[in-house]
């Protein structure tokens, strides 16, 4: 690989990393469950792009394998599974609640990214020099932002997407650290992710059937046995007044 092309590929990989980070921010900030899903798809595509670019840069077929597995499982199968299992009402609602307001959320997310930088630096200093890239730090940032999405969201579907975003972040770091992941491991991780999606989708449907809503944030406090759903409880309260 000549110097100029290598430089270009590394820059394109870094660009994919920057956009990956931006998509993670978007998942923290978007209101609609639909937009969150679209951003997750974009993020997975960028992960695949980064894997393919690194594979091209260092001539590693394993990374191509990672790219292909990612390209098939996350942007195609995950949305399809979610459509099949989770209730459709989540997609049509425009406003999905958050615990904090969005500008505050974004500032905390920025602080997390700075933290990720300090976490990532010793790791990238300790690996061999040809593995150094923005991937390690950006992957850790993606992991932390996914975890943060888990804490602030109060809706089942974005919560699930937060888990998947964490997995994306871990993968993003992984492709930079080891160039020779056995294919078996990749496939196992991909299937694992899909099973998680399936189980949580079914669980979401069950929650909706039982409680009448998928806003799991509202299910945090215990209610008396008579009031089965929050909506019903509110109605009863109104009647009592």
């Amino acid at each position: 690989m000549s110097g100029a092309t290598g430089q270009l590929l590394e820059n394109l990989n870094a660009l994919a990393g920057g956009l990956f980070l931006l998509a993670a921010f978007g998942m923290v900030a978007t209101r609609q469950a639909r937009g969150c899903l679209n951003l997750f798809i974009t993020q997975s595509l960028l992960l695949a792009a980064s894997a393919a670019l690194l594979g091209l840069r260092y001539g590693s077929e394993h990374l191509y394998g990672v790219a292909v597995v990612n390209l098939i499982s996350k942007p195609i199968i995950v949305p399809w599974l979610l459509r099949k299992t989770s209730p459709g009402e989540v997609y049509t609602r425009r406003e999905v609640e958050q615990v904090l307001n969005i500008p505050t959320s974004l500032l905390i997310a920025l602080a997390l990214v700075v933290l990720a930088y300090f976490l990532g630096r010793p790791i990238s200093n300790s690996v061999a020099s040809q593995f150094r890239g923005p991937n390690i730090a950006i992957g850790i940032a993606g992991l932390l932002l996914g975890a943060y999405t888990l804490t602030v969201r109060r809706e089942a579907l974005p919560l699930l997407l937060g888990v998947l975003a964490m997995e994306n972040g871990a993968f993003f770091t992984g492709i930079a650290i080891s160039r020779n992941l056995p294919m078996l491991v990749e496939l196992a991780i991909a299937t694992d992710g899909l099973i998680v999606v399936f189980i949580m989708g079914v669980l979401t449907r069950a929650v909706q059937k039982h409680a009448g809503t998928t806003a799991v944030g509202e299910l945090a406090t215990l209610k008396e046995a008579a009031a089965e759903s929050p909506a019903q409880a509110a109605k009863e309260e109104a009647l009592a007044k």
């Binding site: 820059n11 931006l22 997310a109």
Partner: protein, 332 residues
């Protein structure tokens, strides 16, 4: 020396002459997208001509600020034009008088006086719009800062002539994450500062919803013409910074190549230099036209945001610019 002053003058004249045309083409394109015919692209010139020949009415209650503001709003973009690369990629006579940050401050000065003038008249609608512009302004300010800090971090300078060379030498720099993310953040800034659609509707004339337009609400005749022309020039100047410094630093006098072919011989005879500067005019116009097409797509496909969502839009711009900076730091 003489040449550099001459080119600077040509630069100012080009910005003054073409600014109304740019806004005319933009509104015509927008109407065409909406399947309407729309006004002629020369309509803004006719408006200006008409306004310059009308009487000006100034409220007795207003102070000197109201009378001075149109001149400041008109002169500020011209002043910035002296600092930025509009037609040439080598620095001109006044280029080192101020950097991009200084240019931003000069533009902000015009905005500041326009706000004061809107409050000065005691028209109830003026201050409403003026305080909204300030809200957009102070939310946009940190983004501007981070964008310029990132630029100075990457290029080692905030003089626009030095920055523009940085992105294309070597060509791989063009795809650096900091560059692409900066471009995104700056595009969002242009939309906010120019009062374009996700933030403000430039063609809406409903006083309660106005943001940018309300500043010129009380002006008439010559003063209104100057405010309008100044606003159009500000938009063109922002576009020139965006296109010539950040996105496409090609086609300027000094590096006019097309697919590796030099359009003009690269020797530096004095008359060839003049020819190169004049050739840059259509090339820059072409770039501006392409950008207008992008702007029309954005304006026709998005809806105006509710007032309290503007902070989220600019928050997104802020995060994008910080991501640009962080991506640069992450690179070992």
């Amino acid at each position: 020396m003489f040449n550099r002053i001459l080119f600077n003058l040509i630069q100012v004249l080009v910005v003054m002459a073409f600014a109304p045309l740019v806004s005319g083409i933009l509104s015509r394109l927008k109407e065409m997208v909406q399947s309407k015919r729309g006004p002629s692209i020369f309509q803004p010139y006719r408006d200006l001509w008409k306004l310059f020949h009308k009487d000006e009415i100034v409220s007795e209650e207003s102070s000197w600020i109201f009378r001075f503001t149109p001149y400041i709003v008109f002169v500020a973009p011209i002043f910035v034009t002296l600092l930025i690369p509009v037609l040439t990629n080598y620095p001109l006579f006044f280029a080192f008088m101020g950097d991009m940050l200084g240019g931003g401050f000069v533009l902000a000065l015009g905005g500041f006086f326009a706000t004061l003038a809107a409050i000065d008249t005691a028209n109830p609608y003026g201050p409403v719009g003026a305080s909204r512009t300030r809200m957009v302004g102070f939310l946009a300010e940190p983004v501007f800062m981070i964008v310029f800090f990132t630029v100075s971090f990457v290029a080692g300078s905030t003089i626009p002539y030095i920055v523009q060379a940085k992105w294309v030498t070597p060509m791989a720099n063009f795809f650096a994450p900091s560059h692409v993310l900066l471009v995104l953040a700056f595009l969002m800034l242009i939309l906010a500062e120019g009062g374009r659609i996700p933030v403000d509707n430039p063609s809406g004339h409903f006083e309660l919803a106005m943001i940018d337009e309300s500043k010129a609400l009380e002006y008439s005749g010559r003063g209104f013409a100057l405010m309008k022309w100044g606003g159009q020039m500000k938009m063109l100047v922002l576009m020139c910074i965006f296109l010539n410094v950040l996105v496409t630093p090609w086609g300027l006098a000094g590096n006019q190549t097309l697919g590796g072919l030099h359009l003009l011989p690269p020797v530096a005879g004095p008359d060839l230099r003049v020819a190169a500067v004049l050739l840059a005019v259509p090339l820059v116009a072409l770039k501006v036209f392409c950008f207008l097409l992008v702007l029309v797509v954005i304006e026709s496909s998005l809806a105006k945001l509710r007032l309290f969502r503007i902070s989220e839009f600019l928050g997104a711009a802020f995060v994008t610019s910080v991501a640009a900076m962080i991506a640069q730091v992450f690179l070992p």
